[in-house]
Amino acid sequence: MIEDELLKWRFKCGSREALSRIYEKYLNNLLTLAMALLNDAGAAEDVVHDVFVSFAKSAENFKLRGSLKSYLATCVINRARDRIRTNQRQPTKQDKIDLISSEANEPDRSVISSEKSQRLNHAIAQLPGLQREVIILRLKGQMKFKEIARLQGVSVSTIQGRYRYGLNKLRSLLDGEVEK
């Protein structure tokens, strides 16, 4: 990812343009991760907002040898986990599903998605949290099993197991509902 290497460097040098480009490049991807993990548009927006703002402040001390995409995805995971922990300590609130269909054409809504995407996301929301993380990081964050294992603090084989079980469960939940 030569462009990312360039962007990382320029961002570290204080380039506003580089930060804007990183934002444009990864915003929707991170939003998708956050939505899949939290299933709440408002919370997902907050997480993505906080990740980017924190990233913007980190330029001077920013040292990253690895993938920018994986780094930002990990930041989203950590913030989403914090959010889930906080919510668990608070009285349960109704899932405010703020998802809308692009066909719905309602410009005031903040997160845009297709109906198919919403159905998938509802199914993913039914998975245990760790399985959900593995599947989302692997398929939407394009992270390696090794990286996810490090993030969850378990072995690669455990991660592969969570991935397999998660996919099987999703398959049974969605069987016949979502066409490829």
């Binding site: 204080g14 930060l19 915003l27 929707n28 990233f55 099987n168 969605l174």
Partner: protein
């Protein structure tokens, strides 16, 4: 029923959320404000570390041809207003597929230079290079031998193998600019779309700026390949190239472009060997009484490396006569970068068909950093009054090559 693979594809393809325009702008405003705030509160970063690039030989500069412009630059940043995004990976991928390059260049004296390169798609390095300058200089470089033809002096210089290439490979020019020039030098580049008056079309411009240099690489938006490279400003104007005005890719190489026949009447010399008047001096070299020349060649090379390792320069200079400035270079650069620690092996001498001076023997040296380096020394044999003496005439190829 969906298979696991089908499920993976479904998630990859169909699970997508996008931010609305309002949300996009809302967050971006906060993000850019946060960056500005952070800049105000943090100290200014250190200034750019300008790297000086030592290019000892103008011939080598010419051989590096198209890519030399990038090599001569250490880049720092220019930050313009928001530019349309261009994924530079497209250019790196396009360059990874090229097999030949044909370029028309201009040197710092205004001479036109034509370059043909056979590019190794796997490594991005040149397999062979042809370079012909209007100034009367030509280079034909192949993995076996390189000819440096100076038409004005009517001299052809021969050297072993490919001409030493720049560390920026043409087939990997973007990666190498970033990894080998920008990063080590706190540099940066700016990518923009501009209207090219000459071409009457829009091009992608990769613009690099430093306090001492400024350059542009123009990229064709359709093919994604560089179409010209121009040095706008440089504190190092030299005998290298100033600009590459036109670049063509994957053209059929002209028949025999990398075959060179030495013209009649031309003086031919070995590029890294001393002339006869130096080598015939009776005060240099070493008398060795052995049964075979091969054995004597190995002895003089062994003596030489022991002298170098022990920094016995007077003995080393006697065994290998060279002008003082060449010794200065060896002592202050070559033998510092590759400080010899131990002589590992001297192989059996052989006769190289293109080197008429005398037998050649390969040596293997271990340097102080633990690396193994190899090279080939040419030995001249002199016979006087029934005595044989030997002198190191020079090297066939570079002094140190990494042993693979």
């Amino acid at each position: 029923m969906k298979t696991t693979n089908g499920m993976e594809e479904t998630i990859k393809k169909n699970l997508n959320f996008a931010a609305s325009t309002e949300m996009r702008e809302r967050i971006l405003t906060d993000v850019l404000d946060a960056q500005e705030e952070a800049k105000k509160t943090k100290s200014a970063s250190a200034g750019p570390n300008i790297r000086s690039i030592i290019m000892k030989n103008p011939i080598i500069k010419l051989a590096a041809a198209v890519i030399i412009i990038a090599v001569a630059l250490s880049i720092t940043f220019l930050d313009k207003s928001i530019a349309p995004a261009y994924a530079i990976e497209q250019t790196t991928k396009a360059l990874q597929k090229i097999s030949t390059v044909h370029a028309f260049c201009i040197d710092w004296d205004g001479n036109k230079v034509e370059v043909w390169g056979d590019i190794n798609a796997e490594t991005g390095k040149e397999n062979a290079v042809f370079c012909d300058s209007q100034s009367g200089f030509a280079i034909i470089s192949t993995p076996e031998i390189t000819y440096y033809y100076d038409k004005r002096e009517n001299v052809v210089r021969l050297d072993k193998g490919l001409a030493p290439a720049s560390y920026v490979r043409f087939g990997r020019i973007i990666e190498d600019i970033i990894d080998r020039i920008i990063k080590p030098n706190n540099g940066d580049v700016h990518i923009n779309r501009e209207y090219d008056q000459q071409r009457e079309a829009e091009v992608i411009v990769l613009h690099g700026v430093t306090q001492r240099e400024e350059f542009e690489v123009h990229i064709d938006p359709e093919s994604k390949l560089p179409i010209s490279i121009n040095t706008i400003r440089s504190d190092y104007p030299s005998k290298g190239l100033k600009s590459v005005d036109r670049i063509y890719y994957d053209q059929l190489l002209p028949d025999g472009i990398f075959k060179f026949e030495i013209p009649e009447g031309v003086e031919v010399v070995i590029h890294r060997a001393q002339p006869n008047n130096v080598l015939d001096d009776p005060d240099v070299g070493m008398i060795i009484e052995t049964e075979t020349n091969e054995e004597a060649c190995k002895i003089i090379i062994e003596e030489y490396w022991h002298a170098v390792i022990n920094q016995n320069w007077s003995k080393a200079k006697k065994l290998r006569p060279m002008p003082e400035k060449s010794w200065d270079y060896l002592k202050t650069i070559d033998y510092v970068d590759n400080k010899p620690a131990r002589l590992i092996k001297i192989k059996e001498p052989y006769q190289e068909k293109d080197c008429w001076i005398g037998p050649i023997a390969s040596y293997v040296i271990k340097t102080t950093d633990g690396k193994l380096k190899t090279g080939d020394m040419i030995i001249k044999i002199r016979e006087t009054d029934a005595q044989k003496s030997y002198v190191i005439a020079g090297t066939w190829g570079r002094e140190f090559n990494a042993l693979e």
